[in-house]
């Protein structure tokens, strides 16, 4: 993907850019809000990563200006402020996602991938597959290698979320937001424990593991 990073802190900017390049993306870095606006409006980027506090033009105004000009490029806002009001303000300005500093690279990368491939979501498919696992979204029946697996509603939702995003890492916070609609950081390992329940039903009784733990980032079901 072609990604524009607008971030004034050179260390953070270089870190983001290096990491994304290693993943095979093409990355441009701009350190000033106004330059960022120019760059973002003219070159066709797949994803914009914008720091909220920027010299020249702040991230919120930048996002609003872009959206006002009918620029629909997916936009991730990086911010030092993590309050509820700040998050809502950020999303209201037109940002598609919001990440509070400090963040791990895995989190950023997972979110960028989610944004960049938004339209490719397997939304219409009635049945979702991964390996020998099959999920029928109409009857809500899940089978693996022909065996029916009984899932609780939330386990089903978690599995469906991962299946619909096959091949893409989903972080703890992304899962909390999407599956449980929780936008704060629980201190305990709620996601881990739900995943382990799901694994006990979906993976344990079978030969191979479908749900992969990506160290320092999150979970993924591989597309096969």
């Amino acid at each position: 993907m072609k990604i524009l990073v607008i971030e004034d802190d050179t260390v953070t900017a270089a870190y983001i850019a290096d990491g994304l390049r290693q993943e095979g993306h093409s990355v441009d870095v701009v350190e000033n809000g106004l330059d960022g606006l120019m760059q973002a409006s003219h070159s066709g980027y797949d994803v914009l990563v914008i720091d909220r506090m920027l010299p020249g033009l702040d991230g919120l105004s930048l996002a609003k200006t872009l959206r006002g000009a009918k620029n629909r490029t997916p936009l991730l806002l990086l911010t030092a402020l993590g309050g509820v009001d700040d998050r809502i303000e950020g999303l209201n300005s037109g940002a598609d996602d919001y990440l509070v500093k400090p963040f791990a690279f895995g989190e950023l990368s997972a979110r960028i991938n989610a944004l960049g491939r938004r339209p490719q979501l397997a939304d219409q498919d009635q049945s979702l597959r991964a390996g020998d696992l099959e999920m029928d979204r109409l009857t809500r029946k899940v089978t693996r290698a022909g065996e029916v697996i009984d899932l609780l509603p939330r386990e089903y939702a978690l599995l469906e979320h991962l299946l619909r995003r096959r091949g893409r890492v989903q972080t703890r916070t992304m899962l909390l937001e999407a599956v449980w609609d929780i936008h704060f950081d629980p201190q305990t390992n709620v996601v881990e424990s739900h995943i382990s329940r799901l694994r006990a039903k979906v993976d344990k009784p079978f030969a191979s593991e479908l749900i992969v733990t990506v160290r320092g980032a999150g979970y993924r079901i591989d597309a096969t």
């Binding site: 030092a80 402020l81 009001d85 449980w180 305990t188 709620v190 320092g216």
Partner: protein, 456 residues
């Protein structure tokens, strides 16, 4: 209704002052009327008395007893008993006069008309007896004037307070209402300010620089200062957040690079991991402090919506069910009474309240403990209760646990930042909800009671 009216009057200073003023005014009128009445009465009585002295003197001039009795008989015949009574008791026993003989009044006395035996008696008389010739003459002068004066004064007594009350009351009420409306405007503005609507201002009336306008201006100046302080707090928080988080982010970045650089020994790998966990902890504590500061700085209620407390509790409890099972806790949701349990609030913040309370209970109770989340009605309000049978919080520590970064001695070594309950308190405050810690004997019971309307 009368009680309510009374309460309104007693609460409103202008109305109370008006009432007091009217009472004082009426009392002073009544007192001056009373004094005037007494003065006039005694002056009339004096007149009558001097008339009587003259009359006695004129009788005394007559030396001959027969002439005297004749003269008395003449006068008695001429005088109407309403204006004057005359009786003469001669020592021989015979009596003359225009009324029946009376007892002797050695000093001037006031006698009620009823004691004088005549159908045409006046209301009262000034009576005196005196030795004249060979007998005792008793003269009584009607105090009709005094009686009439009394009647007139009674009338004035009754009417003047009514008139005064009417006038003073009407004017007073009008003034008081005007004042009360302005006081009410100040009061409601202060209430708005307290509730976090920092743009609220008292309208300044065009009465010039009177006392209420001065107070209004002071309130407005205070509000402006508060708004500026909140704005600067926000600015400072956001500056600090940015300036501190950038270096924290850099440290996190450097540690992550170090970890991924490869070639680290297991020991070094462990150290780097520990350092990364600490960075996470720093940023988490920092994040919480920042959020508490923002909440306490009077965040607005823009994102508040109507929501059902039971549904909110169910979703959060569900999130923690597996964690509780893993740690051997019995976490359950109990709904007492029938819903809906409608409250106003920010769903994320309220979710965080319950999450913090559940995490607290999970962290501070032993395996096998029971944690109950109860949703119920308390009168017209809805309450959220988290109840465990763990060690509880000693009574003397209950206020302390709301302090930022405070931790009980026994939990120093456990996880947690000491900010969870301060966050809970700040969020409850923002929602106008009452937070109460109590002994569940054994265990801790935390009750959050929500008001059933939007915090004003």
């Amino acid at each position: 209704m009368i009680a309510r009216f009374q309460a309104t009057v007693m609460r409103s200073t202008p109305l109370r002052l008006t009432g007091l003023l009217v009472i004082l005014f009426v009392a002073s009128i009544l007192i001056s009327l009373g004094i005037a009445y007494l003065l006039l009465k005694s002056s009339i009585d004096e007149d009558i008395q001097s008339q009587m002295v003259e009359e006695f003197a004129s009788f005394r001039l007559i030396a001959d007893q027969n002439d005297l009795e004749e003269r008395i008989a003449q006068e008695a015949a001429a005088a109407a008993p309403q204006t004057m009574i005359i009786t003469y008791q001669a020592d021989g026993g015979q009596s003359i006069g225009n009324v029946a003989p009376m007892v002797v009044f050695p000093v001037t006395s006031i006698v009620k008309g009823a004691l004088v035996q005549t159908p045409q008696a006046a209301a009262s008389y000034l009576v005196q007896s005196s030795r004249i010739g060979q007998g005792t003459l008793t003269l009584g002068f009607s105090r009709q004037q005094v009686t009439e004066l009394g009647e007139v004064f009674w009338l004035v007594f009754l009417i003047s307070p009514l008139v005064t009350l009417g006038f003073a009351g009407a004017i007073g009420l009008w003034v008081a209402r005007a004042a009360r409306n302005r006081v009410e405007a100040i009061r409601s503005t202060l209430a708005d300010l307290t509730a976090g609507h920092l743009e609220a201002r008292v309208p300044i009336s065009n009465n010039g620089p009177d006392d209420l306008n001065q107070i209004s201006q002071s309130v407005n100046r205070m509000a402006a200062a508060q708004a500026a302080a909140v704005a600067s707090l926000r600015q400072i928080s956001s500056d600090i957040a940015h300036d501190l988080k950038t270096p924290i982010q850099r440290v996190a970045v450097l540690l992550e690079r170090l970890e991924n650089s490869g070639g680290l020994s297991d020991l070094h790998q462990d150290l780097v991991s520990a350092a990364r966990r600490q960075t996470d902890q720093i940023s988490r504590i920092f994040q919480s402090l920042l959020q508490i500061a923002q909440l306490e700085g009077g965040s607005n209620h823009d994102h508040f919506t109507q929501l059902d407390l039971h549904r909110l509790a169910a979703s959060i409890v569900e999130v923690y069910e597996t964690t509780a099972e893993d740690s051997g806790h019995d976490l359950r949701l109990i709904c007492e009474g029938t819903g809906p349990f409608t409250i106003f609030g920010e769903p994320n913040l309220l979710g965080q309240v319950l999450a913090n309370l559940i995490e607290n209970a999970l962290r501070h109770t032993q395996t096998g403990s029971r944690i109950e989340v109860v949703v119920k009605h308390v009168g017209p309000q809805s309450a959220l209760i988290v109840h465990d049978n763990g060690p509880g919080i000693p009574a003397w520590e209950r206020q302390n646990v709301l302090r930022r970064l405070y931790r009980l001695e026994r939990s120093r070594t456990s996880e947690g930042s000491g900010l969870g309950l301060s966050m809970v308190a700040a969020i409850c405050d923002l929602h106008g909800a009452k937070l109460l810690f109590d002994d569940a004997g054994p265990g801790l019971v935390v009750t959050v009671t929500f008001s059933n309307s939007l915090p004003s």
